[in-house]
């Protein structure tokens, strides 16, 4: 009984700020204003399946997937390094990953702009060393870089938290039975850390596919990502119905992918997000 009481504020919060808004978005996405008032329609959803918008979706998924994979490749070894470090160093190392996140996200993205610009810091340094300059500002590369930089901690931390919990005796047993280092990794560590990899994957993929700030600032607004498309519908086109329909489609997409992911994760007991 007491526990239930404590949960009430959260339930109220959830209904007010999660359930009702989602229902509102849903209702916008399936209605249109006719002369007699609101009427039901699926035209907004149909409109999205135009090659133009599908391409926007594919481009967004591409960039998000690339960033997530890079995060994984960079993040997994990092998580292993932290997990293997002596306990007194571990917290410090985790802290180093978390501290940049205390700074405002926009500020961090803006500072990448002044690093990457044509007359930015990196190019000034390259010129000083008589090296050819780098022109990646306002390209896909800059956008991926921005995403990897901003979302890397979300990959490292879940993997790390799974890795430290792995029972050392399992590894020792494998070694006793004659497994070499790569075998231990492939047959023991990797499978056991999969839940962390999966939640890291989702934690990076989700914000990466919906971002509109990074693509606007570092991509120079050269291409529309799905996040920009939604923003555009609400702010400049004033087409809330279409914007809501895209949002709902994205919601379904993310929900589906995390369902698939968590199905793999469930077999192994772990620290999944869901």
């Amino acid at each position: 009984m007491k526990n239930k009481l404590i949960a009430y504020p959260y339930i109220v919060w959830m209904i007010l700020f999660i359930v009702i808004p989602i229902l509102l978005v849903l209702s916008y996405s399936v209605t249109y204003k006719s002369d007699t008032g609101l009427a039901f329609t699926l035209q907004h959803y149909k409109r999205f399946f135009d090659p133009l918008y599908i391409n926007v979706l594919i481009h967004s998924m591409n960039l998000a997937l690339i960033s997530t994979l890079i995060c994984l490749v960079l993040g997994y070894p990092m998580a292993m390094i932290i997990a293997k470090a002596p306990v007194r160093h571990r917290n410090m190392m985790v802290l180093f990953f978390v501290i940049p996140m205390w700074m405002n996200f926009l500020l961090r993205t803006y500072s990448w702009m002044s690093l990457l610009e044509r007359s930015g810091l990196i190019n000034k340094l390259l010129k000083l060393l008589q090296l050819p300059t780098l022109n990646i500002m306002y390209t896909n590369v800059a956008v991926v870089l921005g995403m990897v930089y901003n979302f890397l901690p979300f990959m490292v931390l879940p993997i790390y938290s799974v890795l430290v919990k792995i029972d050392k005796s399992l590894i020792e047993a494998a070694q006793d039975l004659g497994a070499n280092e790569s075998e231990v990794f492939l047959k023991i560590t990797l499978p056991l850390s999969l839940p962390g990899v999966i939640s890291g994957f989702i934690m990076v993929f989700m914000p990466a596919i919906t971002t509109f700030v990074i693509s606007r600032l570092l991509g120079g607004g050269q291409f529309t990502l799905i996040g920009n498309l939604i923003e555009q519908q609400f702010l400049s086109a004033g087409d809330w119905n279409f914007g809501s329909a895209i949002s709902i489609l994205m919601l379904i997409l993310i929900l589906l992918s995390s369902l698939v992911m968590s199905k793999y994760g469930k077999d192994k007991e772990g620290v999944g997000l869901w």
């Binding site: 133009l52 926007v56 610009e117 022109n135 306002y138 529309t224 609400f234 702010l235 400049s236 004033g238």
Partner: protein
């Protein structure tokens, strides 16, 4: 001990509550909500108004006309004064979102230049009081662009590949292409819009980026050679980097007026009118003009400006340039077509 602390805290909290409650009842200070563009006022002016009239001002900012509209339309926030642009004002008048201003309460309206009265967006001038105006044009860096700049065509010149900044805004950028082709900024003609789209897709490989406010930093630091900007911003940028110059292309351009209006949801119309009147006081208008850099429609304030500014063709272009410029009209449902064209341009490889 712990209990004692808790009790003390509880008592002090309730005392505080009571004090603040009675304080509220004691003096009823009116608060008006003012909604304006970012960097579009000399902030000290607000303090002066509060002091002079004993009215609190809750000052909020918006980035685009459309964002402002989306926030006022549902009526959840009661704004008393807003400062949108011309075409948005006509849309708001059409949708019955504005109150008629009682001009007896705004005697300073007499200072506003007649040129800016009864314009198309508010033909009988019942709803709005002009605040600032300006043009759209090309800002260029004289050290990078040696030839004379007088046409939108230069933004399609391959010599300047990856040195051109365009606005990340549907109307501005599609408008540039329309005017380059000699069409109206407000066209409903699908063929003309299609042509404009093709022009912009052709131009895309030459564009360094589509930017909003970042344009200022980029042009001042010499990251790009050419950019489409508003005249008021150009004044500020030229001040900081004398290599820059601004021109309104001879094909014509956009001419805009931002004006003060009172949304229908306002609960303090009288105070809102006092605020509008205050903003039209000569000294206040002068202060704002000096701070913002945009052009003032206020006749007395303009006379008192530094002659260098008042005679600057960037901020105060001659009448024959203005004649070629066009005011935006509300697009109505055409907005969706513009949005689709914009998405197609952005999706083009």
């Amino acid at each position: 001990m712990k209990k004692l602390i808790k009790k003390c805290l509880l008592i002090s909290f309730s005392v505080l509550m009571i004090i603040s409650l009675t304080a509220c009842q004691g003096e009823k200070k009116v608060t008006i909500n003012v909604y304006n563009w970012g960097e579009y006022i000399d902030k000290s002016v607000i303090g002066e108004f509060e002091e002079k009239y004993g009215i609190n001002v809750n000052y909020e900012l918006f980035e685009t006309n459309e964002a402002m509209y989306q926030k006022i339309k549902p009526g959840a926030v009661n704004y008393d004064v807003a400062i949108p642009s011309d075409y948005m004002i006509s849309k708001m008048i059409e949708e019955d979102m504005l109150l008629k201003i009682d001009f007896d309460n705004v005697p300073n309206y007499k200072y506003i230049d007649d040129k800016f009265k009864n314009l198309e967006y508010d033909p009988t001038n019942e709803y709005s009081v002009p605040y600032m105006w300006g043009t759209v044009g090309i800002l260029y860096n004289k050290t990078m662009v040696k030839e004379p700049v007088n046409s939108w065509d230069i933004l399609w010149d391959e010599k300047y590949a990856k040195q051109i900044l365009m606005q990340d805004s549907q109307r501005e950028t599609i408008g540039v292409a329309l005017q380059k082709l000699g069409y109206s900024l407000n066209t409903n003609n699908l063929d003309e819009l299609e042509e404009a789209k093709q022009e912009l897709i052709k131009q895309k490989p030459l564009v360094l980026a589509y930017v909003v406010d970042e344009v200022k930093d980029k042009m001042i630091s010499g990251e790009a050679a050419l950019a489409v900007v508003w005249a008021g911003d150009a004044v500020v940028m030229i001040e900081q980097n004398p290599d820059l110059a601004y021109v309104v292309p001879e094909e014509g351009s956009n001419f805009f007026v931002d004006a003060m209006v009172i949304p229908k949801t306002s609960k303090h119309k009288k105070e809102a009118e006092m605020f509008i009147n205050f903003m039209c006081e000569t000294e206040i208008a002068l202060k704002n003009t000096n701070y913002i850099g945009y052009s003032t429609p206020h006749t007395e304030a303009k006379k008192m400006l530094d002659p260098k500014v008042a005679n600057d063709p960037v901020a105060y272009p001659s009448d024959d340039i203005l004649e070629k410029c066009e005011v935006y009209r509300d697009l109505g449902d055409m907005v969706k077509i513009y949005d689709r064209i914009w998405t197609e341009i952005k999706a083009a490889k």
